[in-house]
Symmetry: C2
Subunit: 314 residues, 2 copies
């Protein structure tokens, strides 16, 4: 694990109700990266003032980016989700782990000409984003992979039968897949053993739903990690591969960017390890005031709630 960022031992500044402090803080940044659940909304409930706060930032020329580890949705799907919560946004403002993965494959990995295909464990969000970057792929939601393993599959896989193991596959990308099965895991394992790069959209072990937890994208990678004795490169928060992908797209000055989040250990760490100019904690999610003020990973500043930013202009 990386060492805590030096800044993390500072005492964070409490900005709620501090108009001058808020103005000064906003003036320092051109770009605001937002964690979503716990910051802008909770579950299906948009926090009061979220829409107005985002408007204030945009009106002042700030770039707003919504950063999500949700790999099952494409950016277009996610924009619809924001719209459903009453939050206006554009696809260009959204950065999901499926998009991050696609950018990483298409713009950062230098794959040989004959190894450009991606074998996908995951849902349609990943497929849509791979298509948007013109990355060829197999697997994913293809019904041909949603079947039981058959006795002859073992022999075909062992023999390297090219109708089951495509020789052009150079990357295995594992995201959340509600149709995970034995065959998909066996194929992913053999692709990596044959030299494919092992990527994961994100490695969150759980996925919140209906007020409790369900298997997350990391749970899809877990069997492969155990079999291979190898971790994937993860493209979601807090992996810096995601920060690199965001920077690759928006070309911003990191010293003029601020990460906003409710979780010290993931969101704030993500901003600190990315050497962003600032990190802003909010108390409407997982981390407490004590976590931010005296925990091992501390933001530059914190607020009771995101909409406290509105006081900067009152």
């Amino acid at each position: 694990m990386a060492q805590p960022h030096p800044a993390s031992t500072n005492t964070p500044r409490y900005l709620t109700g501090d108009q001058a402090g808020l103005r000064e803080f906003l003036d320092k940044f051109d770009v605001f990266l937002f964690d979503c659940d716990g910051v802008l909304w909770s579950g299906d409930h948009c926090f009061p003032g979220t829409v107005e706060t985002l408007e204030l930032l945009r009106k002042n020329g700030k770039q707003v980016v919504f950063v999500t580890n949700n790999s099952t949705k494409s950016r277009a799907d996610y924009r619809k989700k924001l719209e459903g919560l009453g939050i206006p946004s554009s696809v260009e403002e959204i950065f999901s782990s499926s998009y991050s993965s696609s950018i990483y494959i298409s713009r950062i990995l230098q794959l040989p000409e004959n190894k450009r295909k991606v074998y996908v464990i995951g849902e349609s969000g990943i497929e849509q984003e791979l298509r948007s970057e013109n990355v060829p792929f197999i697997g994913g939601t293809d019904p041909a992979y949603r079947r039981d393993v058959q006795p002859e599959d073992y022999k075909r896989i062992a023999a390297g039968d090219t109708s089951l193991l495509d020789p052009e596959v150079g990357v295995v990308l594992v995201g959340l897949d509600f149709h995970l099965n034995y065959l998909k895991l066996a194929l992913a394992y053999h692709y990596v053993k044959r030299g494919a790069i092992f990527l994961a959209t994100n490695i969150d072990s759980t996925l919140p739903n209906s007020g409790t937890l369900f298997p997350g994208a990391g749970s899809m990678s877990a069997p492969l990690i155990m079999m291979l004795g190898q971790d994937p490169v993860a493209l979601g928060k807090p992996s810096q591969a995601m920060m690199d992908a965001i920077e690759g797209k928006f070309k911003f000055d990191r010293s003029r960017a601020c990460m906003v989040g409710d979780r010290a250990n993931t969101d704030i760490r993500f901003g600190l390890e990315g050497n962003l100019g600032g990190t802003l904690g909010v108390l409407t999610g997982v981390s407490s005031k004590e976590d931010f003020v005296s925990g091992p990973v501390r933001p530059l500043a914190y607020l009771d709630k995101l909409s406290d930013l509105l006081a900067a202009e009152q």
Copy 2:
């Protein structure tokens, strides 16, 4: 990891061709526990002399036990497999991880009256062995669990709907399941979160087939281990829970028992950590002479091949 057994730093005795040494060795033991693949056979090929060696042991009044981590087969299935390889055996001589798990649940765990059901991830071998010990179970090969997760499942699981989450389940038992899916993992997670004991038939990450490797029973547990942050009690080699179960059944004197295997790190370790009177390595499988003679885990004695034991009576 357990400390190496003190005996493991001894120099193992090489017994091939040493008739007096072989006789002396055989006289020390009443019970021989056998790892199978790599000792008695390899893949589908029975080693020459295996049948005769087992006959020699039985003729001299030795108890023979076949110990296997294969959880998909019942003892009856496994006896058929031995028969197919030309090796006579009785069901009573076979000890599989599915049987070990059933014994552990029925005879060692003290489950409350209203928490006696087992939720199974696995195939019919586990079900047959649970039935043989009169342990009630759900899941397993029941087609009702071989389906995609549905949107309403999240709400039903979150609400503790007793038609999906049986309140009498007190144990989750995870073995190799060729029909693993998202719903099965979600249910297993929620049972353990609600207090069920987390068991695994075995935690081998891979399963050999057709000369290569496929996902093993450990790969079924891996997502749950990641989600729960908790390891299961494993009932296969080299877990001592399996040794306890074997002893519980055969009631033998450990000082008069010998474990025979081809792998220092699992088979020989299993015997050493179980404080058996002896361990015997054979060079027809994974470990080399160097592993046995100078590795960190060393048997009491070793042979080129199991059938070298026949020289004791020539």
